[in-house]
């Protein structure tokens, strides 16, 4: 096993990375927020999303660029995000860790038939 200490993804970090992969070139605040809220069915503030994206960017998992200002945003610019190679590797690693613990996870509802 690799002894090097690796940065493991947190729950929200993983979900945000997956949302970026799903959205592709349209990955900016509003659609990311909507995708994460829809997937988790929980209230998550846009600030939390940006704090997570900032953390991911500092770790080299994502990169960002500023877009053009638009009228519908009151003349403010969008900030687009993109998953980098390190981010993809981190996602794959998270998946491997899950599979190494439980190769085929099949959950049965409580009291259900096996």
């Amino acid at each position: 096993m690799d002894k090097q200490k690796k940065e493991l993804l947190g729950e929200l970090e993983e979900i945000v990375l997956l949302a970026l992969l799903k959205l592709g070139s349209e990955s900016y605040g509003v659609p990311i927020h909507e995708t994460v809220e829809e997937a988790t069915e929980r209230f998550i503030s846009i600030g939390s999303i940006y704090a997570t994206l900032d953390r991911l960017e500092r770790n080299g998992f994502v990169s960002s660029r500023m877009g053009a200002a638009t009228n519908e945003r009151g003349g403010r610019a969008k900030k687009y995000f993109k998953v980098e190679g390190a981010g993809m590797m981190a996602l794959e690693e998270a998946e491997q860790i899950r599979r190494s613990i439980v190769p085929k996870l099949r959950l049965q509802p409580a009291g259900g038939k096996a």
Partner: protein, 178 residues
Amino acid sequence: MAITLEELRNLFPEDEDPLSDKLPQVKWLKTDQEILEALSEDDFLPGNDSTHPSSSGHQYETAYNEDSNRTEWHLLVRLLKRYQRMRSFVGELESAEKQPPKAGEYLLYLFLSRTEREVLIGDLTEEYPGLVTKFGLRLAKVYFYKQVVWSIWPLVRKTVVKWSAFGWVAELIRRISS
């Protein structure tokens, strides 16, 4: 009595003169805006004869002389003024639907860095009209403020952690060097 914005819009449509079909005797008026610009409310207070519209020499003098019914004139001006106020009120409501509350924006200005708040306010502004359509103005405002309050802490915490780490390193250097 509560009234919805949709009902107000129907009552005070933007491109329709509400009096044209209801008061045929005033069809010589061009638009409510024109007459309101030419007249002031004080000109038509009952019993104030010195303020006959002809005294100001405006373009409606002939029309006024043709129609000598002063009561109808008073009624018309009051109706037009009321209509103008209501239409302006509807306009304010419509713009309120599109713009998030300024107080929330100010909170973000207080606590966040320039780049963070610009992007965050932009996102909230973009989301806001959709929320108004979905939940109504009041609930959209509640959701907006919830977003603002819950957005400030994660971003402020990030800065606090960064600066406290700097402080810790500075303290370590000071102890080593002393």
